[in-house]
């Protein structure tokens, strides 16, 4: 698991990370979102004991990043911003090198290398020099390297950035599988659709500070307020006589649709739907107004910039 407490990093006069508090348990995926230079990579580097925090603390896989750097590094798998592949090596040699780095015995190493290369579709190119690989193949190999020692914690920086849709899907499936095996995963990504699909928790970082964090639903609620539902009719229908259940607020109404804000959708929506049916409303659809992670992200960022502007 990953736990940080007031984690901060300052380079001379520049504050890269400022008082970050995160908690990611086993079998959870946390997505860290933010602009380039917001502090994501610095946070990951502190969590891999590459950088020493200037303030605060962090524990990764049960080890303190300041005191047990060696143990932290042995327990995490990292996909770095730069893949760091040795171009004159073959994929097989490269994986074997890292297998030895993590002290895997030869037979286990061989099996893992075969399985990972096979899974990522690199088995046929295993004996080719990495320099001859495409960008996507390199990305997959770097990811396979991060997994060779089956670490309990994975820190993945843009895991699908250079991949074709098929490979990206493969990687997403693998991340989901790893999650199901109780791994702790931290994901830095600009692909918000992917984050929506994978993440249990999302944190948005701006200029080193975490602006918001929580599950996607929590973020939506925090940023946009209560969920909103739209009822769409096949023809004009007068909804004036319709009594909304308590806890529902009418936001807008036209002849063919209306929008309500709902405090407890699970409880109130069935009541409203029953009333609509009783009133023989020509209902075509009743669905939550789409509020994507992208909207949440953009609103949070705009708000942060606005506050900054005011200040």
């Amino acid at each position: 698991m990953i736990e940080t407490n007031d984690l901060s990093k300052q380079f001379h006069d520049f504050v890269a990370v400022d008082g970050v508090n995160l908690s990611v348990g086993s079998g959870q995926i946390l997505a860290l979102l933010g602009q380039n230079g917001a502090g994501k990579t610095t946070t990951v580097r502190m969590l891999t004991a590459l950088l020493q925090p200037t303030r605060g603390s962090a524990r990764v896989a049960g080890y303190d990043v300041t005191k047990n750097g060696h143990d932290v590094r042995a327990s995490v798998g990292v996909l770095t911003e730069h893949h760091g592949l040795y171009m004159r090596m073959t994929a097989e040699e490269y994986m074997d090198f890292f297998g030895q780095v993590y002290n895997l015995d030869p037979s286990l190493r061989k099996t893992r290398i075969e399985n990972l290369l096979e899974y990522f579709g690199l088995a046929e190119a295993a004996k080719r020099r990495i320099g001859e690989y495409s960008k996507g193949m390199r990305q997959k190999l770097a990811l396979a390297r991060a997994m060779i020692h089956e670490p309990g914690v994975l820190l993945l920086d843009e895991p699908t950035s250079a991949m074709d849709p098929e490979s990206a899907r493969l990687v997403r499936d693998e991340i989901a599988r790893l999650k199901s095996t109780q791994r702790t995963i931290m994901l830095c990504s600009h692909n918000l659709t992917e984050v929506e699909l994978l993440a249990d928790k999302i944190a948005i970082i701006y200029r080193g500070r975490i602006l918001v964090q929580g599950s996607l639903d929590e973020l939506k609620r925090d940023v946009f307020g209560l969920p909103e539902y739209v009822a769409q009719f096949a023809a004009e229908w007068d909804a004036d006589g319709l009594a909304l259940p308590k806890g529902m607020e009418l936001l807008e109404k036209t002849a063919t649709r209306f929008k309500v804000r709902v405090e407890a959708p699970g409880e109130l929506n069935p009541i409203l739907l029953k009333r609509l049916a009783d009133a023989s409303a020509p209902l075509v659809s009743f669905q939550e107004e789409a509020r994507t992670l992208e909207q949440v992200y953009l609103k949070v960022m705009a708000s942060a910039r606005g506050k900054e502007h005011v200040q």
Partner: protein, 480 residues
Amino acid sequence: MFNKLRPVWLVARRELRDQFRDWRVLLPMLILTLCFPFLMNEFAKETVDYLNQFNANLVLERLVPISIMIIGFFPITVALVVALESFVGEKERGTIEPLLTAPFDDWQLYFGKLLVGAITPLIASYTSIGLYLWMIHRQGLTFPDGMVMLQLMLLTTAHAVVMVSAAIVISVQSTSVKAANLLASFIVIPVAILMQGEAVMLFWGNETVLWLGIAGVVIIAVLLIRVGIAHFEREYLLGREIDTLNLKWIARTFWRNFTGGAVSLWDWYRRAVMSSLRRIFSAFLIMVVVAAVSLWLSYDWVMVNVSDAVSRASPEALKKVEENIEELPEFSSMSGHLDASFLFLNNTRSMATILLAGLTSFGVLGVMIYMLNIGLIGGVYALFKLLGVSPLPIFLAGILPHGIFEIPALMIGSAAVLYIGAVIVTPQTGKSMGEVILEMMADWAKLFVGVVVPLLAVAALIEAYVTPVLLLRVLGGGMR
């Protein structure tokens, strides 16, 4: 222990494999290994033919070891290329981060790189030497004896380690391969000077001196390795600093450390200078001990060797010396040449020399110059004794008055240089090597300006205006 060393070999082996796939490393190494013994052999043949005309057998005998040292050195130059880009090259290629996130200790990574930097060039170097020896054997030239060969092999190995460890220090501290290559002259020039010195030692043929030389090179190698490990920082390697000379930052850092935040001259002395004096206290004590040792050594050496030489000298030689002494000007007429500003500038220059020499050798050469300066007193004292003149009154009149100021100044300045060397080889968490050197330079400058210069100025005034008067009184103007 094996488990601790395993990662070292792992890092080295991977890079070795990489090296042997890179023709840009292999080709020069092969050329240097295979061609230079032939070239050197041809040169040696021509030299032999030439020198045989003069029956200069001794020169020929000494030429072979020097040739072996040079031949062994050429392939080692490749080590520089490999080692210079060991860390900074990986940083530029973006391969450093996965390596740094691996569960290696700093020293394991460091020694892995050191090993790979030295191993291939050394193999090439030994091969080259072997090839040359085979050629010598075929020509029937005199083979160096076993001890000299052992010394040559040790020297070659030490050269490789010195160059690789220095290159790695540069590689760890550089922000680009280009910058590292530019800084390489700081390795090439001192090593070239070092080899000239070693060539002189080989020509001299004094085994003991050569052993001392080898010991010196090994100490430098060990110190360089220590510096490399002390300043190895994963954080710095991942930094994004660019190669811009930040003069503002340099000036600010220096000034901040020089002034120590003082608000007045008195405050500066009280806070900044005193704290620097406290910091160098241990080094100062070492300087006191070193002074005592050098005084005794030079006194003893003169008493033993000079009296021995005088007793063995021919009457003609002694007469010649006497004639030379006769030719010296009267002491009273000499005093006019030694004005205070000359003395002050001369002593200041000595202090600057100690600093420069110390900076290039972790303080060691600086201390050696200091020893020489202090040692002279012991030697001169012994000479007076041998001449049958009571040295004590001369020393009380000729050295003590200005020495009270000059010797502590010399001790403080040299102690500060030794302290710089000690700090450079000590881990300084969170600071780049440049930062550490700037802080140390500011510390030295503080002591130089605040303590050494005033003491030297007072000493120069006394030496110019008081010491000659006292000496004339003691010697009565008759001593040449």
